[in-house]
Symmetry: C2
Subunit: 281 residues, 2 copies
């Protein structure tokens, strides 16, 4: 006799990067077996498996795609770079629509080489969204600006706080542009709870993601996200804040962690489901 699988919250969603050692069929099969109803997908592995094949795989399995990562990288200062970014983001919007998700996560991009102008880069993001947001709406897709931790401000995302993300999103209808609340990126920010409330009241929380904060950070700081409960983030509090803001949607767990990736993917998914139940109880 094996232990029964843990009960899975209907709101739990597993971001594909958390268990990137799994193939797409392996991930979907494990979701079905464990009762996980949602997955967040990434463009690169979807492209490798095939966009239409992925759409059929999840549809046939009855697994919901809760978000697609990622569009963005909209900070190029030159015309060619900006045109390429717009084209790539339109393609990402089309992919999201094909996969049946209404949410495209945007990682906005860092400073162009040699630039020190954060404010200018943030303004170029807003400028690019003025053409992308209506296009996304025409495909039934909402754009979700994800503030990344300030340690990524130079090379990955000049949008570092929920307040900054909202300052851009609020230029557009809430049905077109909102924000991602990711605990890993905002947990340290004493202004973030008020921003969560403001975003929720306006219907602008388009995604909610969980990861814990653990140290020491690894070189490059990208793949050091902690399993739920292993770190310093009061995850139950953040879930309460986001719930209180009126967000009823999926809660994705998105971990980038070399140590977790080195193990078995299905066991990691089961452990993540278990931790989710424990820390959010």
């Amino acid at each position: 006799m094996t232990a029964p699988p843990p009960a899975v919250s209907v709101r739990f969603s597993i971001n594909q990067m958390t268990v990137k050692q799994l193939s797409l069929p392996g991930l979907v099969e494990a979701c079905v077996r464990l009762g996980v109803r949602g997955v967040g997908l990434w463009r690169e592995p979807v492209a490798r498996y095939g966009l239409d094949a992925t759409a059929k795989l999840v549809r046939d399995a009855g697994v919901e795609v809760t978000s697609l990562c990622r569009g963005g990288f909209l900070t190029a200062a030159d015309a060619a770079g900006r045109a390429a970014a717009i084209a790539d983001n339109r393609a990402a919007i089309d992919e999201a629509a094909t996969l049946g998700t209404d949410t495209l996560v945007l990682v906005s991009g860092g400073l162009p080489p040699g630039s020190k102008d954060l404010a200018g880069a943030r303004e170029r993001i807003a400028d690019a969204l003025s053409s992308l947001a209506p296009y996304a709406a025409s495909r039934g897709v909402r754009l979700a600006i994800e503030p990344l931790h300030p340690m990524f401000a130079s090379d990955r995302c000049v949008v570092s706080t929920l307040d900054q993300a909202l300052a851009i999103a609020e230029r557009f209808p809430a049905s077109q542009v909102g924000v991602v609340v990711d605990t890993y990126h905002v947990w340290w920010d004493d202004r973030a709870p008020a921003a969560v409330a403001r975003a929720g009241a306006a219907g602008r929380i388009h995604a909610f993601q969980l990861a814990d904060w653990v140290t020491p950070l690894p070189a490059g700081v990208l793949n050091g996200r902690g399993q739920l409960g292993d770190g310093s983030v009061d995850l139950a509090r953040w879930r309460s804040l986001v719930d209180a803001a009126g967000y009823p949607g999926p809660i994705e767990v998105e971990l980038f962690n070399d140590a977790l990736w080195a193990g078995d993917g299905v066991a990691l998914l089961e452990e993540t489901v278990r931790r989710f139940g424990e820390v959010l109880a």
Copy 2:
């Protein structure tokens, strides 16, 4: 014939950690030879050389001690830990007075083991300062709360922004408690310029430190501070902001960088003087 030494701004100060490969006599000798008028010292190397011997060394050389690093680590939740921290900070205040500097830099401390309560930790800092600030004033020393980059929030400093630092400092007279503006820690923060203006107007900028932001960050993220001009920070703009806020004091360069420490310390000091002149011009 050797090249003449670069002209050195009267406001330039070299933080000892930037050239930690130098002994204290080596550092002071290089400062005198190059015309560097100020040094920021650290308690540990001062203790190794001897507190009184260090005070005599800098006094005899006519070099000003612009700050002492560091007090702080005031977030312990247990009575014994808090008492030990108070005692250690009183000792640090005494050392600052002996060295003839009016500024003790505070790195406030991270979360206690197992704690997820950032707000509570910040409150304990303010509580500790209510006894330390008057004592410091009685010794002619001002306490300078240094917000550290949010990537240090869990394990080193729960005070992550200038606004947070000011929220604590403003409970005390400006002559007793102020803040450190360090470009490495605040450069990403769109609210920091307003905080600099507010701090300056109240006479609460007690120290101004420079370092550049470079990536990729090394493991542990402590020793990746960039030489002036090598990174993403618009240092000239920050100097203008701090000047415009009415701060007339020393500008310390504080780099923690394994690659820079591997080279010759005097050459590094000369290069830092040169960069300071270039990037702040």
